[in-house]
Amino acid sequence: MDNFLAQMAVVLFLIALGFVAGSVAERRHLALLGKRERDNGPFLVTQLKSFPAYTENELAPQMVVGEVVIASDYFKTFLASMRRIFGGEVRSFHSLLGRARREATQRVIEQSRELGYNAICNLRIETADVGGSTTNKKGAAMVAIIASATAYQYQSPSS
């Protein structure tokens, strides 16, 4: 009985730790993402296959890639396992995937800006599998995203 109580205490502690640390990490990440996205300025992002509003210049178009792996916290994983019993939308992982996609896209944009480009086209976002998280049931829940795009220079028609 004591053993069972001790185990319960550990699980409850981990859930509380996940809830506190996880939501702090998430809030901080979202705030930082918002700030970085505002700093982008007039940067054109499309997933068109061609180059909208391309202008002649010395910089040749170039592919840029950004990747990110974000871990779930214990609280989110616990909520998801509860969801698996009753079914329905797993909201706790919804925000995790959204954050990972925004982060990967933002890394592509930042890299392009550093190289002197002001637009990207043909943005592709795909999920990767590292650590065998989808093949290995015991594997930790994490989201791996690779975003790739072609950076080029454009002239905004309004300027």
């Binding site: 170039q62 871990a71 214990y74 065998g132 790739s148 080029y152």
Partner: protein, 107 residues
Amino acid sequence: MIVTNTETIAGYHISEIKGLVQGNTVRAKHAGRDIAAGFKNLIGGELKGYTELLTESRRQALERMLAQAEQLGANAIVNVRFTTSAVTAGAAELYAYGTAVVAEPGA
């Protein structure tokens, strides 16, 4: 070498197509990274070790693809795509492929 994931290159025209080029790699991180990732799974946040793993794999796969294109005498690769697969726990395969072409400036 110009590398793009679009079918064309703006400001260039493709004068010759050399064919498909590809590069792949399977990489793993040491066990310490996996343990650290286990802890990160309690509190959430970015797994820097695995992000690094993806970056390294992507670089290596691209390098191998570029070497093939150079061998074919191409000066550009268009329509590059990535695919990943999980071979075993703790390892990731990254496969990059594209079409090697000769591109010349001017439309």
